[in-house]
Symmetry: C2
Subunit: 444 residues, 2 copies
């Protein structure tokens, strides 16, 4: 059975059945329904392996599947009887069928919160939901993508997990490696805040501070991959990137299943590299092709911080290329000035009738507090971006308030306390007496 | 139908059926199977209401139920088809049957992690599990108890949620009140660390710093409850305490269900007030009486920090009373020097053949790192206490390594970064070059 790739429209199936077992230089690789890698630009196919760029055109590679195009009802039942984590979708992911039995942090199946109080404040009447990925093991959506990378690393016989990071990813890789029994070696700029260093180091892997900027860290990692030192190393977001990226599809799967196997009308998704947004779209397209949801139009909106808004700037100017920017925003987990998937994000926003918008740092802080005050969800700055952009899009009449809307919360406020600390404190400080309480005007 | 209270052995059922609707001064109160409050000491019964102490003997009140003693198979199916949060157990909790439709943070159904790598380090061969409550909405088990208090507050017509707190509870109450649409007013000592203040204040309720110690804060709250100002206020852990405490039973329910409706052989549970440990025991007893699990012996072990070890000190000395201590430990969320449920904890440890043990601050830090390094779970100091005590009990031959053991992780390391920060950092800091990497001895 074969399905068409959601992104290229090319047929990506092979006649090898649905197990996807592939023989590579390192032996037989069982990554379930994953059949091959295919170039997103030219469509050329490659055997499954730790590669990430097309040898013909240098385009990014992504996983192509033999998806089970059988009875949707049977597939739906199989998923619903699966574990309450992202492995319930194992038949649709590049992982072996017995993945749930292997040591992994098992993220996913986070709450889809019906956000009625936030909806009332924003004037949304068609139903507003927050997909709250702060419930993941290390409290960000990164656990989803790293969980996939771990299984790919296992399949390829790697023994070390690695990445460059300034935050969420470092913790996610450190924790996942610890759980799965890999060595980890994570690279960070040497001058990170102590809190982030502790979060990355506590899992006991090697954590290496690099004297230089985040760009220097990245360049050094590329050197390592090309050097014999890096043999046996899986860099989750470099040589394992095609597998890693597939984890974001599970956000789309979960949202639709939690809505009762129904597509939402509108989604608002933050943009860093843009990978998450493109993979959510890929996931929605797969659900349609598999017959798990009824096809209908949906709009995807991208959210950026004004201080790092290369994609929204391009969108508003009507450009098809994304001009790099030097980031300057409190939303550090979104601060990628030259987003790899920027052009694909523009395509998707145009194709679905969505848009890309940005908000200021002050609006980010306000949005963090708005979400906390209305729904009891304390998000990090990236979530402030997404909620803030949602508000702005409703006010501008771009987002239709009468349609079902899902907003992604990808991280946790405990990791970016500094963003709200200067403006968040006690209502009053008083002596322990009823008179003092009354005098403070708090007696109601 | 009637069941006996797990704790007193007295029959607590009434002939009013299973709805538990009770008429109080504030009208009809629907708290599902909750039939009455009963005194833990003398057994006297009271109508459901916002009261917490027996008027005859001043003993603590707890919820008595008309539990559904019908076909266990039907009840099990009902639970299994319920939501993936603690409301799957609504038939066994003091909440209305339609609780899942009301705005609540819906905590629970957190992961029961099979901890094979930790087990190997500790020498446990019979199966070791970590019940990881850091996955709750505000990342501690407090969300469970506050979720119950919210529903009781709603039933009693309260409009303000309140508590005194130095940490996890403040955030849990602030978040839950925001979500459920209550006003909140939380009291803290004025000199808390800024991070904790931010976590408590961000949800937008009133946060009041009290010039004094935590004891002063508590005394002031008692004054408020007795004053007309406090009318309409639900103090989650004072006048709503009987309902609040029931939330901890869900830990027992989930553990058994996640083990395949089976009792574990041994549980290790941290002790602050001791309420959690006693309610987990109550939950296990209820499952046995309802026929949801097969009866068999289990042992409950309590864990304290040496710097606040009134219960373990009493246990080791063979005392039946608990002598108060002045706390001095990094495990601040367990630092209750005069634990209300201390004597009940001693009873349970003796009755089940368990024990109570304590560990030093240094052992707590080591245990936090051990859990992070082996399972990728970053726990707060309270979790370090529980894992550390587990290790100590295995080494002492008190905990049987050949039996199935469940350790409770009740909180999140992001909230107590200071505990590990001084000893957790980069392996190395280097220039971005392969030579520097090799020179640092990291090339493997």
């Amino acid at each position: 059975m074969a399905v068409q790739s959601a992104d290229t429209g090319r047929t990506t199936g092979t006649p090898t059945g649905t197990t996807g077992s592939v023989t590579t230089a390192s032996g037989t690789v069982d990554l379930g329904p994953a059949a091959a890698l295919s170039c997103r630009e030219c469509g050329e196919r490659f055997p499954l392996g730790p590669i990430f760029a097309c040898t013909s055109c240098f385009g990014p590679l992504e996983v192509a599947y033999d998806l089970p195009l059988g009875d949707p009802e049977a597939l739906r039942r199989k998923i619903e009887s699966g574990p309450t984590n992202l492995w319930r979708y194992a038949p649709l992911l590049p992982v072996p069928a017995d993945v749930a039995d292997k040591p992994n942090l098992n993220p996913g199946w986070t709450k889809l919160v019906k956000a009625d109080r936030l909806a009332a404040e924003l004037g949304i009447t068609g139903g507003l939901y927050v997909k709250d990925d702060s419930g993941n093991p290390t409290h960000s959506f990164k656990d989803r993508v790293v969980a996939q990378a771990v299984e790919a690393a296992r399949a390829f016989g790697f023994t070390t997990l690695s990445c460059s990071s300034t935050g969420n990813l470092a913790g996610a890789v450190g924790a996942a490696a610890a759980r799965a029994g890999f060595r980890s070696c994570v690279f960070i700029p040497h001058d990170l805040e102590q809190g982030k260093v502790v979060m990355a180091a506590v899992y006991g892997g090697d954590l290496v501070g690099i004297e230089g900027t985040y760009d220097d860290v990245n360049r050094f990692c590329s050197e390592l991959i090309g050097d014999p030192i890096g043999e046996g190393w899986g860099f989750v977001n470099v040589n394992l990137r095609p597998y890693y990226g597939e984890g974001s599809k599970t956000l789309a799967y979960e949202i639709c299943e939690q809505l009762g196997w129904r597509l939402p009308d509108q989604l608002v998704i933050p943009i860093a590299s843009g990978s998450q947004l493109t993979k959510v779209d890929k996931g929605l397209q797969e659900l349609i092709k598999l017959g798990l949801v009824e096809e209908k139009p949906y709009k995807i909106f991208g959210a950026q911080a004004e201080g790092c808004s290369p994609v929204s700037t391009a969108f508003k100017a009507g450009h098809e290329v994304v001009r790099p920017q030097r980031p300057d925003t409190i939303a550090k987990s979104l601060a990628i000035g030259n987003p790899a998937d920027g052009p694909y994000v523009l395509d998707i926003a145009h194709r679905t009738g969505g848009a890309v918008e940005d908000v200021t740092d002050a609006q980010i802080v306000d949005a963090i507090k708005l979400l906390a005050r209305t729904e009891g969800i304390f998000t990090e700055t990236a979530g402030g971006v997404t909620v803030g952009v949602t508000k702005k899009l409703v006010e501008a009449g771009v987002l239709d308030p009468e349609l079902t809307t899902v907003v992604l919360n990808t991280g946790d406020g405990l990791k970016t306390l500094d963003a709200v600390a200067p403006t968040t404190g006690p209502t009053a400080t008083i002596r322990p007496s009823l008179d003092a309480f009354r005098a403070a005007g708090l007696a109601g």
